[in-house]
Symmetry: C2
Amino acid sequence: MLSVTIDDVALAAGVSIRTVSRVLNESPHVGAETRKTVLETIERLGYSPSTRARALASGRSFLIAMVQDDPNAHVIGALQRGIVEACSSHGYELVVRPVHFANPDIASDIENFVRRSRVDGLIVLPPTSEIAAIPERLTRLGVPSVGIASVSLPEYPCMLVSNERGATRALGQHLLELGHRRIAMIEGPAHFRSAQERKAGFLEGIGGSMPEAYRREGDYGFDSGAAAAEALLSLDQPPTAIFAANDIMAAAVAKIARERGVSVPGQLSLAGFDGSDIASMITPALTTIRRPLVDMAQAVTERLLDMISGARASWPHERIDLTLVHGKSVGPAMDDPRKNGR
Amino acid sequence: MLSVTIDDVALAAGVSIRTVSRVLNESPHVGAETRKTVLETIERLGYSPSTRARALASGRSFLIAMVQDDPNAHVIGALQRGIVEACSSHGYELVVRPVHFANPDIASDIENFVRRSRVDGLIVLPPTSEIAAIPERLTRLGVPSVGIASVSLPEYPCMLVSNERGATRALGQHLLELGHRRIAMIEGPAHFRSAQERKAGFLEGIGGSMPEAYRREGDYGFDSGAAAAEALLSLDQPPTAIFAANDIMAAAVAKIARERGVSVPGQLSLAGFDGSDIASMITPALTTIRRPLVDMAQAVTERLLDMISGARASWPHERIDLTLVHGKSVGPAMDDPRKNGR
DNA sequence: CTGAAAGCGCTTACAG
DNA sequence: CTGAAAGCGCTTACAG
């Protein structure tokens, strides 16, 4: 498909391919005059070096992979935007690698992928980033990896940890301060660390306990949120506030509430998690906890690239505090919600 | 990072590397016994061939790229799922390449990317797939490309064209049959072919014309939909039906309508486009036009892979008919909407 | 059915 | 500051 190689450039510029290579790799050991000639020749011939050949010769593929298993398009989309941004500005390409969290052989699956594709590094996203066996394997393979998650796994040489527990704790306190006493939560899947963190923080925030009937487990999907909302709103003593562990489930609660004639935030305060687009698309706009996903993804990718270039072998894990975004779905508790026709 | 090479395998199996290569590439010209020995040796040594080396030697990178410029996470997410699915099952990796539709040098940008990365083929997504210069360049480079769009560009050796005009025509007719006469549309950006198609079809469906005041241009984003809705609902004779050219803008209309106390579908019928998750998340669930994005993406990727393998050089462009999904946001027109307090 | 040799297009110590 | 040679780990005609 292409004809121009480094040999053509060297020939035309009257230098050795070694010198062309040096110019390409921005080696300081090239005379200014020589460099100029080479660059002009490259331009004139329309030469672009083959990454395939560079890869084989240098041992670097200039490919990094994003390992994911999350059906939430908002979250994945934001993360991908940050990652690809950082990649592009450093001459790397981004390979997308979907995996299955539930696959017991997930670590082997990823190892095989790495051996085959020869990516130079991996960014592992939640919930896959919660599995310690993965960074363990990758480190043994000698391939740098970074993780984004809600908890810190020492196996990763670099991680960005979103302080989900702290944020949900603050949310719980906020609801308490608004006078809510009958507070419910729709949790994420119990085997996800993120779900555990969000629950633990929220419980701390509201003072440590919640009746069983007010705790429902969802799967971060819309339908599960709707089912949980139906159950909660059918209780004799329905909650005056519901925290759903992500925006999608919170949107489901909003929908069910509306169908049942329960006004938000008049009769029911509602909060979500993620700060995704959907939070502002529904009515009323959702109070939610914003994760700065684009920034986190970009930052962690920059660090990975530093590790690949050998600038450093690891980074202290960093914790990111999240912010509570006040929408219009949370208000003061009413004295007795039963008076209001529920 | 890895030590085992094809030489090690050949040595251990007592054959030449040529034979190992043949086994790897599933050549039929290998004795059953030999093949078995080689495969066992590969297994025992934990060997996986380097794609980098295969790429250089074979002229194929086993990489394909997805070229995109669409901030709509739902659309991109669905397309990516279909593409990556097809890639994985054929041993290809997917590289994500974001571009800027508005960049006048977009074709050069993509050409440079291809020369550098050596991807074996590209899948170009809307709206980028509406630019004829791109397939033109790629074909000249000798790199196969496929497009997904709302119109057929002959420059592409293969395209999947969603019949957006036909679908919006049907929607227009449907509104007409329900008795609507004051029908408005929030269009997409006028320089997008998809926006033109959706508008043209809809106009055909409602009988060919629409007062200027009932036509608003949006940018497919939420805020532009909200602004258009405000304007439309403030008219002396507000429309009894609004078609927004995508679900996100339709969601914005729903929100504004609710804020203004305009009931949907009681006082206002509302339809969107895309059939994305958000359509079912808002209340009432949106009537929308579903694009089978995952299936389309997967199908077009399969065809691209066929072209790469040399099975065929091009495909007749295929048109995909879309389906109208009946939500709860469209109903019969009322006799006189002004009676209802607007 | 199987092998020895050349080559894909670069980079990398090693010299000069 | 610059060059000749070897090598990265495969595949590919060409023979046998």
